[in-house]
């Protein structure tokens, strides 16, 4: 066993290598834009240079003269598309701003023309030669810009149902012995997955195939069909591998239906490869947020009052918001809680999911404030969290299905060497560097959604699993293959998994960290259907009610682990008894508490996530604790982070190797988010300025000398049949606060606005 493949502890699966490792390392994995097309034309986008106003005129002569240009599509000659509603309003779209519909411009970098040519180079050259005259209006860029409007989220965003509250915050805060009242800010961020926002569309008669990196092939298929006004069964989305998603490919962007419609008109496949900077404006992003936190505590550290007010930027037409108060009001035991989320509308594209959408900004605020409170109380920040650890949701009173927060703190503290910390700020140093230690809690709701799967077993054990899940780099192929192998009792090498294709049985969006729990639960259930058939063939007279329950593991909870206590099944004998060559089963699984329309919605590409605080009698979250060492240079004030240590508990860990990779990536991204990442907005014109990977900074290897991931054993029999809590979005949550808390410890300076840069440090 190695660091990359940790030895399994209790309730940790085998750290088998990635199913797709060899294909990826050898360059055999075909991403959407690698898919061969028959005689394709190439599209290049022209995007707007203003954020608000109108297009007066295009001058296209120069562009059309470029050899190889086939067509230039603008709002004046674009195919007409039907509207798609926002995903949260029963539609599929990540934005309702539909480009090429009119001369109106609603945000910077909006698609205003598509150049189609015989080659990528010709399309790009012609796009460069397109001249556009605008009548520009003064746009509102962000918070505080003139012309923005603000209103409570509740009532305008159908997914934001309630501002959580309990008790009497005002009275309790007034009477509190120790009070804290502070504000925080987080910046605009962009996902920048390695794979660009490409799309290839090919028609065969009335049938459309779309090759596009997507985190939700069923959503995209249905959404594009709706926009084109065709039957969804005529659309197929294919992407066996996705080059990173991070939420950016969760909902449909406007580019796809446009390219599909142009391909139809030209009667030729079209391949679009947008540029990196276009990726900043043709897809979604994490909007900037502001927070007001008020904490009241007794002198011994018990929270008596907590208020979290958040404000988020969204576009003019769409009330997107992440509303992380659902988590921050429930993390700690506190009898008097109040919260409010509001949305500020500006002339921007609609923001969208980005890895741990609600938790990243909102927990940064809460976990920083807790550290500030610990300082006020002169208390170890770990102890403050211990005193306020909750066993029940403070808002609704429901118990946590399992909660290992303090166990994580203790393990991580030990591994990190927290006891070596001298609590006084500015008290630790090494040569030119001031040293700070900081920590924070991290958490993410445990979510599940309905999923289907088809499994086919052959007499020799060869198994084929079909499910329209998504390999966004998380290890989905691997854990699905492991689940099927374990459940059917066949060797892992005999399992083939097919995903990323909307012709396969539907799986939910690869978002909200629900994939492993949902898809593996479905696969497990369908494997059990197969076992059941085989069992019946072998023991036709036994009633399934007695023996079968223990021997084939078809009972639901609480046997959350594969075939606990099962007898192994003699597959060959069962096949002989059945007299068939292949056994194939299809099944649809849904989590407890899923709404009535779940399966219909699943086929229509609409997700019905359940879990987190929305379970009926319980509340389910994964937890972790993160410790960081920060170094601040006395002279240059450069901030570096030599050590990140995280301990996490997330129910059953299906594969410690792929899980560790997720958690490690999360810690690194969290550090990046705290110290480096921000999309700069030119407020005069509401445009992004650093829209490229040289200026939108992410860490390089030299920035990440040490990361340690600890996975705790945790068994949770209340969440889903596999017993897994999603962890893809768990690790990048707490890091932001942990870093700022460490900077405070190093310098005595509290920084409440991300990212922290050297100019924010005063020594």
């Amino acid at each position: 066993m190695t660091a990359a493949a940790p030895a399994p502890k209790a309730n940790l699966g085998q750290p088998v290598p990635r199913y797709d490792a060899a294909a990826k390392v050898m360059g055999r994995a075909t991403y959407a834009s690698d898919m061969p097309l028959d005689n394709p034309a190439y599209a290049f986008l022209v995007t707007s240079a203003i954020a608000k106003g109108r297009i007066d005129r295009f001058e296209l002569d120069d562009a059309k003269r470029v050899r190889g240009v086939i067509d230039i599509v603008t709002h004046e000659n674009a195919p007409k598309l039907k509207e798609s509603k926002l995903f949260s309003n029963g539609g599929y779209a990540g934005t309702t701003i539909q480009p090429l519909k009119s001369a109106e411009i609603a945000h910077d970098g909006q698609i205003i023309a598509v150049v189609v040519a015989e080659s990528y180079e010709a399309a790009r050259e012609a796009a460069n030669r397109v001249k556009v005259s605008y009548s520009a209006a003064a746009p509102s860029a962000t918070f505080d810009s003139p012309g923005t409007t603000a209103a409570a989220a509740k009532g305008q965003n159908s997914q934001f149902k309630e501002d959580p509250k309990v008790g009497d915050f005002a009275k309790a805060f007034d009477a509190a012995e120790v009070k804290l009242s502070v504000s925080y800010e987080t910046p605009t961020q962009h996902h920048n997955p390695m794979e660009l926002f490409t799309t290839s569309c090919a028609w065969m008669g009335d049938n459309l195939v779309i090759y596009e990196g997507s985190q939700y092939v069923y959503g995209l298929k249905n959404g594009v069909a709706e926009q084109l006004g065709i039957d969804a069964d005529k659309v197929r989305v294919v992407n066996p591998y996705v080059g990173g998603g991070f939420g950016s490919r969760g909902s449909m962007t406007p580019r796809t239906a446009i390219i599909a419609a142009i391909a139809k008109r030209l009667n030729r496949p079209i391949k679009l490869v947008p540029t990196r900077d276009q990726g900043f404006t043709i897809a979604t992003y994490r909007a900037e947020t502001r927070h007001e936190i008020r904490l009241g505590a007794s002198r011994d550290g018990r929270l008596v009052a907590l208020r979290h007010e958040g404000a988020e930027v969204s576009s003019r037409p769409d009330a997107y918001c992440v509303g992380g108060t659902k988590t921050t009001t429930r993390l700690y035991a506190c009898p008097n809680v109040d919260s409010l989320v509001s949305i500020v509308r500006a002339d921007r594209n609609t923001p969208g999911f980005m890895r741990s959408p609600p938790e990243v900004p909102y927990l940064f605020a809460l976990e920083s404030a807790l550290d500030e409170l610990a300082v006020k109380l002169n208390m170890d920040p770990v102890e403050l969290r211990r005193i306020n650890d909750a066993t029940r949701d403070p808002i609704d009173g429901k118990p946590y299905t399992s909660r290992s927060l303090m166990a994580c703190f203790d393990e991580a503290a030990k591994a990190f060497g927290w006891s070596q910390r001298s609590p006084q700020p500015k008290s630790m140093s090494d040569g030119d560097w001031l040293i700070g230690y900081g920590c924070a809690a991290t958490c993410y709701p445990t979510q599940m959604a309905p999923s289907a799967a088809r499994v086919r077993l052959q007499r020799d054990g060869r198994t084929r699993v079909e499910i329209a899940g998504h390999e966004i780099g998380t290890g989905a192929y691997t854990v699905i293959a492991q689940t099927a192998a374990e459940r059917l009792g066949v060797p892992l090498e005999k399992v083939a998994v097919f995903m990323g294709d909307s012709d396969l049985p539907p799986a939910p969006v690869a978002g909200g960290s629900n994939s492993t729990a949902s898809t593996c639960s479905a696969v497990m259930m369908v494997c059990d259907q197969i076992r059941q058939r085989l069992f019946k063939a072998l023991m036709p007279n036994d009633s399934l009610a007695d023996k079968a329950k223990e021997t084939v593991g078809i009972s639901p909870a609480p046997s959350t682990q594969a075939a606990k206590g099962d007898r192994s099944l003699d597959i060959e004998k069962a096949f002989d008894a059945l007299g068939v060559g292949v056994v194939e089963e299809y099944g649809e699984w849904k989590p407890e508490g899923a709404p009535l329309d779940s399966f219909r919605a699943m086929h229509n590409g609409q997700v019905r996530l359940v879990g987190g605080h929305q379970m009926k009698d319980q509340i389910a979250y994964a937890f972790g604790a993160e410790f960081v060492e920060v170094r601040v240079n006395r002279f240059t004030h450069e901030i570096r982070c030599p050590r990140l240590v995280g301990a996490f508990a997330a129910g059953r860990i299906m594969n410690p190797r792929t899980a560790r990779s997720q958690l490690m990536g999360g810690l690194i991204w969290g550090m990046s988010s705290a110290l480096l990442e921000a999309t700069e907005i030119d407020e005069r014109n509401a445009r992004y300025v650093n829209d490229n990977l040289a200026d939108y900074l992410v860490p390089v290897n030299a920035d990440v000398p040490g990361v340690e991931v600890i996975m705790l054993s945790e068994q949770d029999d209340h969440i889903n049949p596999v017993g897994a809590k999603g962890l893809g979005e768990l690790a990048n949550v707490g890091t932001n606060a942990a870093i700022c808390n460490a900077i405070y410890h190093a310098t005595g300076q509290r920084i409440r606005k991300l990212p922290v840069r050297l100019e924010n440090i005063e020594l």
Partner: protein, 338 residues
Amino acid sequence: MRPFSYQRASDPDMAVQALGAAAAANDPLTKAAAQPLAGGTTLIDLMKLDVMRPTAIVDISPLAQAWSAIAPGGDGLRLGALAKMSDVAAHAEIQRSYPVIADSLKLAASAQLRNMATLGGNVMQRTRCNYFRDVSYENCNKRNPGSGCAAMDGVNRMHAVLGTSDQCIATYPGDFAQALIALDAMVEVTGKAGTRSMPFAQLHKRPGSTPDIETALQPGELISAFSIQGRWPRSVYLKARDRQSYEFALSSAAIALDIQDGTIRDARVALGGVATVPWRAREAEALLKGQKFDDGLPQRVADAAFADARGRRHNSFKIALGKRVVARALQQAVTMEI
């Protein structure tokens, strides 16, 4: 990117001819129709961004045989313009006798870029001003003379505080040039009329009212070599930046000292990341020459170096930062073991 012709230079004459032939009268070098291609790490980027639109590319990499010497000698150093950044940075004698050069190269860009990039291309690299590099912004005096400057009141954290004009505040982004200017390097230029030499300090032009004119080179001229007198073992390059590697300087200092019996006989101070051109802080040097080191000296020198600095909305921090970087680099140069 737009179509262009591509020629490989067979020898310096041919390169100079080819570059000169395509040049229209009055074109500044930055707009010349023909551009030399060395490692391509600046030029190809800018062509893809549609910022530079040459119609002819003359690949000068075949001249590497003649032009890539790394030749430290008894009386000084000669570096060919086509020497690779990585080769020079890794050269043991450069590390020993010219640490400021080795470090300025080693701390620049990434390993991959340093393997491609040449010294000549490096000093000729162009600003990273986002408004310059994004042609969808009309207002850029450097790209579109007379159109205004979007950075002046825009996002200007990375911009210059020294050597600016009311036309342009773009930072000269490179690192190596600070080492060259500090060490009084000469630059050898090969053109139609043969080879001429000039102080490296005269190569780059402040923006003034013509930010599109960046250097003293004319179309058809190539840098063939750099040369430096003497050895400078007591020299350092200190670079402050947002991340630990692969990032331009927010502020840097190239310092070279000649200390004999506790007296600073000669001192060189150059600044990077803060000025529109490679910047020599002569006022600061004057405070050092002939002095003995005292604890207050670094601060006085740093103050002098930034006496004329002017910050704008997001970059004012560079003044305080730059001073601390100079002061620290000076302390390091004084205390370094040679």
